[in-house]
């Protein structure tokens, strides 16, 4: 049994669960859209909206992520599947990577939706190079978010008060992603006169974040979830 095949099995399973239940499609995605509309009500100014659109996109992503992460582990504990995985001695690193990959796929889909919404509702108009940069930003940010979300989601999964514990633990950690992804997206969208080239250092930050938390999560997930 190689680690890679377990990773694939876990990721495929999580995505199959989503295809079977459609919770992210039917509930989280509309939630994210509502958040975007509420931002527009709160700010009530088209000039400001297109200026702050990148930040709103990523804030909406983070809020949606909290829900998706909770869901990802609720599925495991609904009928004791996580216990069963533990008893089966399934490699926790493979569980971590597999669940991270599934989370990344779902987050990426949400981000695409949110960016398109910002394009339509907030009046942002990126150049072709900007679209490319936005794509790279989304990939880099999503990988990091997937790792951190799975890591802290697993820790909070078994805990009492997990609904409040998860945001408390997770949001401070993802601050670099919010900052980096927002700045990079601003560059991509040209918000506030930013040029596309200004975004690349921030994408570097996102990549560093993703690599560090991928490694740390692989090491820490087992001890955190198991004990």
């Amino acid at each position: 049994m190689t680690r890679g095949s377990v990773v694939r099995a876990v990721a495929r399973k999580d995505l199959a669960v989503e295809m079977g239940s459609r919770v992210v499609i039917n509930q989280v995605a509309p939630f994210a859209l509502v958040v975007m509309v509420m931002f527009a009500f709160a700010l009530d100014n088209e000039g400001i909206l297109s200026r702050v659109a990148p930040g709103l996109v990523w804030l909406a992503t983070l809020f949606s992520m909290l829900v998706v992460v909770q869901r990802s582990f609720a599925v495991e504990s609904a009928d004791g599947a996580l216990d069963a995985l533990r008893v089966a001695g399934v490699d926790p690193v493979a569980i971590f990577l597999g669940k991270s990959v599934a989370l990344m796929v779902q987050l990426f889909a949400l981000e695409v939706l949110l960016v398109c919404t910002a394009f339509v509702l907030y009046g942002v108009e990126p150049s072709p190079a900007g679209w490319a940069e936005a794509f790279v930003t989304m990939v880099a940010a999503t990988v990091g978010l997937g790792f951190v979300g799975t890591l802290y989601g697993g820790l909070a999964a078994g805990a009492r008060g997990r609904e409040t514990l998860l945001p408390l633990l997770l949001l401070p950690v993802v601050a670099p992603v919010l900052i980096g992804a927002t700045r990079a997206t601003e560059a991509a969208f040209g918000s506030g006169g930013a040029s596309v080239s200004e975004g690349w250092p921030w994408i570097g930050l996102l990549a560093v974040f993703a690599v560090l938390f991928g490694a740390a999560g692989s090491a820490a997930f087992g001890p955190l979830v198991d004990e």
């Binding site: 049994m1 095949s5 377990v6 099995a9 876990v10 495929r12 399973k13 199959a16 669960v17 989503e18 079977g20 239940s21 599925v75 609904a78 009928d79 004791g80 599947a81 216990d83 069963a84 995985l85 533990r86 008893v87 089966a88 001695g89 399934v90 004990e227």
Partner: protein
Amino acid sequence: MTNVVELRGVVAVLGGFPALAGVDLTVGRGEVLLLQGPNGAGKTSVLRVCAGLLPVERGGGSILGMDITAQRDSIRSRVGLLGHTNGLYLDLTVAQNIRFWASTVGASRDEVSAAMQRMGLDGRLASVKADRLSAGQRRRCALASMIVRRAELWLLDEPHAGLDAAGRDEIDSVLRDAVAAGATVVVSSHELERAGALATRVVTVDGGTVRDGGGAR
């Protein structure tokens, strides 16, 4: 060969409550041990300790010759637990569930279809979502994944609960096959008549302790 299960003075705590208050238990290879006792006596906790799910607070012991605290990871891949929950993903179909389990332990396609056939899960049931299944059908799913796992120590928590007569017979026959294949079984049950027929030994769990209900039968 050492005993399959050896617990010495095991105390296990659940949210501050001593679920196990000093358990001594020995199970030899090939035995079918029946744990009986009232609700809340600690039967489930004994099984969860043996499966390496519930950490041992005091005392110690070994499972399949491996230390129960230091070598929990190695123990786990060699035991199978059928608890109150079935470990199913309710949004997946029966076939998806069992195939997932098979893929995490590296079972072949043939083994999977054999196990599904054995539990009567092929055909129409295979494509039904787990949350539409009856309690008995869910049990059968869980048993199918146990079969696929080829565990050396089978731990079953009230496996007969909520099943009709046919379902119970099925479980008994799966257990007999497992024992014939060399597995050791620890099973908890209210239904002494039924489980007692299989058991080679019966012990009583009460107040988080084990009273040996007499030697081998």
